[in-house]
Every structure is written in structure tokens, then in C-alpha cells.
Amino acid sequence: MNLAFDIVLGLALLLTALGVFSSKDLFRAVVMFIAFGLLLALVWVRLDAPDLALAEAAIGAGLTGVLMIDAVAHLSANTLQNDQRDDQYDHSPKRPLWLPVISCVGLFVLLLGAIRFRPEASVSLPDMVRDNIAESGVEHPITAVLLNFRSYDTLLEIAVLLVAVVVAMALKPAAEDRVHQPPPAHDPILHGLTARLLPAMLLVGMYVLWAGSYMPGGAFQGGAILAAALVFLQLAGFAVDRYAASLLRLGLALGFLVFLTVAVSVMIGGRPFLTYPEGFAGQLIFFIEAMLTLSIGLILFSLFSQNPPHSGAVGHQGANHDQ
């Protein structure tokens, strides 16, 4: 039964991927991609990787969808202004088909070969992790690897996210260039839901962070939920970005700085870079993770909020109560 499940799941994943690529309607491709994200989360579940499933559920089903919908809204607003030239793009002359086909087949053969002739691993990494997990300060192997055994990976990931958001902020038009647009219509039902759902989101985000020490969860997943909560808040018409702008910059640097400070300050005690003193590892990891969660949440949120708002938003109905 589970084999049938896996086969159908894999086929469905391919089907949605095909749908994303073959759809000429951008919005359809975006919704297909949301479906793809959900199926991918299920695939991670079936591959025994609930950590990734959690991250994919938070990022794929929540944030990526929002970012893409926003992008499509921007794009369609622009193409309308440009007199619908997109017809030319859609029916562009046929590109040669053999190039992608050959490269795909080649890649497939290479992958097969890589699987067939893979070398014997000289050390068994899972065994090493299992043997050393007692020293890592946490009980969940994934968190132990990410924040203790190979913590420079996580450090660099944060750096990458930071760079991404700096680029996003650089692309943002200056404040005076932006078209002043009326705030979106006030929707009491959405407003009410947000006011009640947000504390729950906060709790769940922090729970996922806490859970990272013992079971699937962690800073990245918690941060994604935090970011989603902030996005929700902004979409529902609460004025988040207005007074949060300065806090945002602080939060953006926070995770990185704390990580770096802890990593360097242990060197003062004569230890190598990024090793934790015995006995404190658990607490230190949790502290770093908490800061990372905040930082990741703010970074992901600002990827959304730094978008210039466009004038095509649905906003011609009702009075604006919360302004």
C-alpha cells in the first residue's frame, strides 16, 4: 500500500512540476507551484525527513505562495500598462527542442551512473552523529548537526539570507518615488481572524523553535512561521511596516551578530572557532536559535514588505478604520 502511495505521490509531483512549466498563464503556474510545494512536503515526509517537511510546509505553502502571488500582481499591473505586449512573448518562435532534451537525458544518465557506481562511504556519518550526540547539548540529531557539528553551514546560510534582503532593499524605490496609494480596504472579518490567530501563530512558532532541541523543528522553521505571522498582519491591514522599519534593521543583523559573537568569544577561551564549551552547549544553542528565529523571521518578512506596493490592489471598498 505504501509503495502505491509513494508512486502516485511521485507522479503527482512530476505532474505539478510539468504544470508549472507548461502553463502560459502565470497565475496558474503560481497556484500549481503552491500545490507542488505541498506535495513536496509530503515527499519529504515519505523520505523520513520531517524537518524538511516542516520547513517546506511553512515556506512552500505559506511564504513562497505569497511572494509569487505578489509578483504576479505586480507583473500583470505592468503588462497592462505596457499595452499587453505579452502576446508576442507568449507565441515566440519555436526554440530548438533538442538542447533541453539532450541535457536532460545526459543528466539522467549521469545521475544513474552516480547512484550505480557510488563509492563506499569511508565513515558512516549517521553513526558518528549518533555516537557524539550526547556531547552536542541537544537530543535531535538534525539540530545537533546544524548548530554544533557543522554550525558554519548555518552561519553562512544566515549570511546568504542577509545578502538577499539587502539586495531586495536596494531594489526598493526611494520613498519619494513611490506612488502614494490608499491603504487596502478594511475587512472586519479578516481583521478579527488575524487578531485571534496571531497569538496562536506566535506560540506555534516558538514551540517549533523549542521542539528543535528534541524533535523535528528549529530556528528556520520557527522563523518562517514568525515571518508568516507578520505577513498576515500586514495583509490584514495592520500598520506593521510603519513603526517596525527601524526595529527591522536591528533584527536583521541580530541573529548574525549573536551567532558570530558567541562563535568568536569561545575562541578567547582557547577553543577553535564555533565550538561550544561543555555543559553550556544546550543553553547556548537554544539562545542562538532564538535569536536566529527572530532574525530569520524578520528577514523573510522584509523580503515581502520591502516590495513596493502597487496601485492595482483591491482597495475601492469600505472605509479604512484602522488608520
Binding site: 502516485v8 505532474l15 498563464d25 497565475f27 505559506g62 502571488i69 500583470s76 523535528p216 512561521i225 508568516a228
Partner: protein, 99 residues
């Protein structure tokens, strides 16, 4: 009497099939709201699949994944309603929407 976990797999398999059938609505539309509605269906069905898989695979952590999915499944919908305006959408070009 089939084994318990097989029964749970069966349930999640049925749910997966309904989810795949929902892809048809995403593909055919006809308008963005219909597609978004199908995505909403995916959220609820995905929660169902995760809950049954949690039983089938004896992995309680999947309940947390389901919880996160339940919390966040609406966000895409809210973004759509707030940001997307159908008058401007590329969906105006109807011909290619036909099956």
C-alpha cells in the same frame, strides 16, 4: 483483518487521490479565484493526509507539520484577495484556458 498501518496508508492514499483530482480545477480555472479555491482545498486535504500519515508511519512529529500547514494555508488566499486584481490578470487571454 488487515494491519492497522495499512488501513491508515489506505486512507491517506484516498486523500491523495482526491488532491490530485483537485489539480484539474487548478488547471482549468476558469478564473483565478477558482484556482485559488482549489489551493485552499489542498491545504485542508494536506492536513488530512499528514494526520493519517502520522498514524501510518508512527511519527507524531507529523502532527506538528499538519498544525503548521493548518495555520499557514490561508495566507496565500489572503494575499490573493488583497493583492490580485482580476481585471489586470493575464487570465484575460481566455483561448488557452480551454482544455
Amino acid at each position: 483483518m488487515i494491519e492497522a498501518h495499512t488501513a491508515w496508508y489506505l486512507a491517506s492514499f484516498v486523500l491523495l487521490l482526491t488532491l490530485i483530482a483537485g489539480l484539474l480545477r487548478i488547471w482549468h480555472g476558469p478564473n483565478p479565484a477558482d484556482r485559488m479555491l482549489a489551493a485552499q482545498l489542498f491545504g485542508t486535504t494536506g492536513v488530512g493526509i499528514l494526520l493519517t500519515l502520522a498514524q501510518a508511519m508512527q511519527m507524531p512529529a507529523l502532527n506538528d507539520v499538519a498544525l503548521v500547514l493548518a495555520l499557514l494555508a490561508t495566507i496565500a488566499m489572503v494575499a490573493f484577495v488583497k493583492r490580485m486584481s482580476p481585471q489586470q490578470g493575464p487570465t484575460k487571454s481566455q483561448p488557452e484556458d480551454q482544455p
